[in-house]
Amino acid sequence: MPEIIDFIVVGSGPAGAQAAQTLVEAGHEVLMIDVGNQDMQDYQSKIPNRNYFELRKEDPNQFEYFLGKSYESIQWGKTQTGAQLTPSRRHILKDVNKITPLKSDNFNPMESLSYGGLGSGWGIGCCVFSDAEILRAGLDVQKLYKGYETVASRIGVTGSDDDATPYTNARLQNRLPAFHIDENSQELAKKYDKNRDKIQAKGFHLGRPSLALLTQDKGHRKATSYTDIDFYTDQTLSAYRPWITIDSLKKCSNFHYLDNQLALEYSDHTNGVQLKTINTKSKEIQIFQGKKLILAAGVLGTARIVLRSEKAYDQPIPILCNEYRYAPFLQLSRIGKVDQKPKHSFAQLAMFHDPDGKNEDVAMASMYSYGSLMLFRLIKEVPLHTKAASTLMRYLSPAITILGIHLPDSGSANNRLVLKKSDNPWSGDDLHADFRLSKEEKKQINQRLKLFSGAMRKMGCVLLKMIDPGHGSSIHYAGSLPYSDLEKPLHLHPNGRLHQTQNIYVADSSGFNYLPAKGITFSLMANAHNVAEQALSDLKNGK
């Protein structure tokens, strides 16, 4: 590896992976700095590539990967962010509380120091933002769409043509054939069709979501075999995960990956940048030199690095986060009917609430069947004795559709991040968050949630419970270093460069001035590619 590398990329999540790929393909020397925790129990190799129901009926070792070797899937108490992670995914959370804790009484986000970042547990939703949403976020429509096409061609994104198309894959050209949906969802779709006029009159549109899921083989990655074990294993690589990109890049001679490295701070100079890191095993401090630095550590991780580097302690910056609820609904016509046919585990359908029809203030519900999640996750919520709760859930769970509802966020003065000095042995500081909703915001959210319940009722579904897991649980964050055309500290140029620096770029969603509800990952990957292209251009032009 050269002493002064062309590009240093911090983070191996969705943004870091796409930025790195763009830079590597351009022929430059790229160093990726990452903590990179992996699944040390190697659960994935223990899971046979068979249908979920076959495993349940036949594999005597299933308790290892369904419960975990230390029974880490047995979570007791109120549901917390990340509780849904299966044993093979729990490494996503490893060391976060120890190394990069976030202090807050009212904001409980999920962060990751793992190989592939939060992308290793991503629901693989790939909706495009509308033109209005892109502009509101502070980005360029044409450029972002170019980014969408590039990323879609790299990772494989399904498309479909239905009422949800304006909200899912709109003008996207690079699309794979639609996946097939399970019986529950087919019935829901039929009921929607029957009541379309009434449901659309309330601003709701239903269809298949776009997913980063292969429905055709792509290189060494195989098309989904609909085994419904996607929450536990990625063996066939049919669902896109950022580590798949990193694994491929590692085969390139101009890509260098260093794990166990926590990026601490940068110093920006006319001729390049220095990045200081701490080794998470040995605590050794290292300095890396590069011509350009691309931060893709996630909004919260990037905030720490930037605030620390700019010595902006005790200085609040904004934070955007989608409000999130999850709600099990009972589809009355499906009670007593078990669908054991092949299906994937991801969202089967998506419902969009677009009250004024402008595709700007859109709320989104991803709809999941309760297929390959164990019943024990449900029965602890039932106020009956365990045996009765089991009887109840065995009867009802095949008819349960879970809605994961995201609401857009345009930001508020109430919602802030602050970096404060502390005795944290890794960085000497801690990130604090304060996140509150006004009474009016709460009222609007509740009204919108009632409308979702109403729409589901028209499709023959009864709400069982609306669960609020708390602020931060959407795992979608943005806006901490807002885009601005003005050269202001702690702001980004829309091309991704950090203002008042020459060589620092931010490729994650830190700059987004608006956070649509449609799932941010596809858009931040597209933007990361664009930021990398900008950094390439700037390097070439001596900027």
Partner: protein, 133 residues
């Protein structure tokens, strides 16, 4: 009472079967890993239930209303998790296709569950009241 005996009692409660030693061992291992310690007052209630297993549904139901995340419920929950991930009990614990007549049996079982809840709640409340005084 040992965890092995406790596992067997819970196996009979949850799936109406005697469970083999390897599952009892797995339960014991899970209890140690998950940290399902009981407070003094819970321990006495639990010992009573293990001595008179017919009380367990009432205790379980009563705590589900009174103190849903109690240590006792956690132990029962852990056993359920162990059983659910064991193929020999899959037939009992996996959802199954049901005829419309099953609804009648279902309603009967739920009515019984409600009775367990009512009496269980009273039992647990009285027990804790008596213990505090």
């Amino acid at each position: 009472m040992t965890l092995t005996k406790e596992a067997r009692i819970l196996g009979r409660y949850l799936v109406n079967k005697d469970i083999p030693q390897d599952l009892a061992d797995r339960y014991a291992h899970a209890i140690e890993s998950c940290g399902a310690k009981l407070s003094d007052r819970e321990m006495q209630l639990w010992q009573m239930g293990l001595k008179h297993p017919y009380l367990i549904p009432f205790i379980d139901a009563g705590l589900a209303l009174h103190q849903s995340f109690s240590g006792i419920r956690k132990r029962i929950y852990i056993m359920y998790c162990v059983l659910e991930t064991t193929p020999r009990y899959t037939a009992q614990l996996l959802p199954q296709n049901r005829s419309s007549l099953y609804f009648i049996r279902f309603c009967f079982e739920m009515a019984l569950a409600v009775i367990h809840s009512v009496f269980g709640f009273l039992f647990v409340k009285l027990y804790f009241y008596a213990r505090n005084n």
